[in-house]
Amino acid sequence: MRPATLARWIVLALIVLVVFVPMYWILVTSFKTGRQILLSERIYVPWPFTIDNYVYLFQESRFALWIRNSAITATASTLLSLVIGAAGAYSLTRLSFPGRRTFGGIVLITYLVPPGLMFIPLYRTFIQMGYTDSLGTLILAYPTFLVPFVTWLLMGFFRSIPRELEEAALVDGATRLQAMVRVVLPLAAPGLLAAGLFCFTLSWNEFLYALIFIGDDSLKTLPVGLSEFVVSDFAFWGQLMAAAALASLPVIVVYIYLHKYMVQGLTAGAVKG
């Protein structure tokens, strides 16, 4: 083996180790008994191990509901953001109209607004609309931080698609809208997928809005549910880690399959940003 290759593998092994240790800890803790955790017994490998923590999730907590709520919220807000963002990005890159540049700048600036600052004004807005305590509230709220990003990312992507393809379609008699839907969007699929994954992950992990806008126990999302395993003086470590492991599993599977699209999309969009 050449020294360079060896060095590569050593670096890689170190990085994998660093990523692995906390995940290992989450996983082994989820199989420990409360006693093993409190007494720091069997630190490295839980033996005897227990699946009580997992059983607890389904029998005593509303874990399944949290997953359902998070899945619905994340999927819907992702789709909504993609539709709105794609339309906006197309308009800003392909069509010329007065005020275009200014608007492009504004979209970028709104990406800066810290969510911690927004939650009360946003909550008041929803109260005024008379629409709180529903998953729909979150589905409308999440695009506030997703749409600017999607628009920005797709703008770069659309720019990288040659105008000629679209013009050919126009010559063939397609309308502008048809050209967009039939020619540009399919070519931008990796970008849409990338933006979609990014949105999904952010929505899946969002905590603050979900805490404030949702009160009903049956509508709570996963991060809020997880946070309830830590109750002032107490951390229910076993259950928490079991929930974390189980909740990450579907996302992990999705990522192993789809991350290459995400990476392609992000870089293609970003290079031209």
Partner: protein, 432 residues
Amino acid sequence: MTTLAKMLGVLIALLTIAAVPLLEPASAAGKLSLWRLKTYIPPADKILDANAQECAKKAGIELAIQTYTFDDMWTKFTAAIEAKTLPDIAELDAVGPARLANLGRLSDVSDVVAAATKELGPILSNADGAVKFGGKYYAVPHYAIPLVLFYRSDILTKVGAEPPDTWEDIQKVSEKVKKAGVQDFPNGFPWNRTGDGYDPAMSLLWSYGAAWVDKSGKFTGIPKAQGLEALKVVTRAYLADKTAAFDYLSWSGATNNEAFMAGKITFTPNGPSILFQEESTQHPLLKDTAIKVMPKGPAGRNLALTFVMNWAVPSDGKQQKEAKALIGCVMARENFVKYMTGSFRQMVPLFAKPLDDAYWNTPSGKIIVDTVKQGHPVGWPGPTTPAAAEVVSGNVLTDMITRVIVDKVAPEAAIDEANKRIKEIYDRLPVK
């Protein structure tokens, strides 16, 4: 890519079908809404919910219960105060009634307190300061979880020390334990941004005669001489004797429980939760775990009682009468005793009769009850005020201590700084 697209399509279609009914706002209209604290004792929470639902059913109303955790309480309430969406019934922490009553957002519940008094005997006079303003009650005390001093009896025996009764004693015994090589950092008093930090900080200052207000609740400032004595005894542990580790200053509420149960510290201030945890896991340290009333100082034993939950009826609600009736029903003797006796001796009543219940007649039960009986509300020797609340929630007191420990600021300067911050708070939020 195409199969993938199809799979995604099917998934999304399924989710959409599942989602439609959930897009309706969860209608609380007509229902009575109740927000309560989610505690670390799920069985007790269940009893409370069952009681409340039973009461609602008898009254022919529908009850919707929502929960929050201690860390999230003010996030949730801040949004609700601003959006005018407070629930019909709110379980508030020790400073909640003062803040909301001052805003004019709480209804007078003196009648509910009077009814509860008939059922449960007189309210503890030391609990009044947190819920009674201008002669009227704005909340009904539900329960308290008092902080007590946890210590390891076996280690004390080993080094030949008596259980400490003063702040000085804790320091001396910690040194002994360290010198004997039993533990490196036995003194587990965390001056952090949790109740385990600010509650003992008040007990400490008050026990040294260093309160920051007078009896009417007006600002006086922390007196220098007494403040310095108090600072000296606790900062020594970190700086000179090294019987406490800096890590304690960034602990969360749960970490000191865990450090104690891992056998790494001899002392820590905590609610009785460690006992509950050790009992439920048949922890080997249970036999060596002992509790005592928190220490006294030169000015006596002036304990803080900051973990108190209170029922309040926000004036936003349209169903005041029903809300009051429901609180009355939950606090009725039979219901309340059922809840209390299901709390693993954690939830301590603030009414005389249930406090005398045989349930508390155990060695640790007596200490817990004793602590509640002599605890003082936030802002002592005055009543709880929004300003006093901010001194605590803004972490002014623990900041004063950590300025000396971490930033190596001179104790005099740290007190000056704290007094400046406290004065600014009291100037801005004058006592009415």
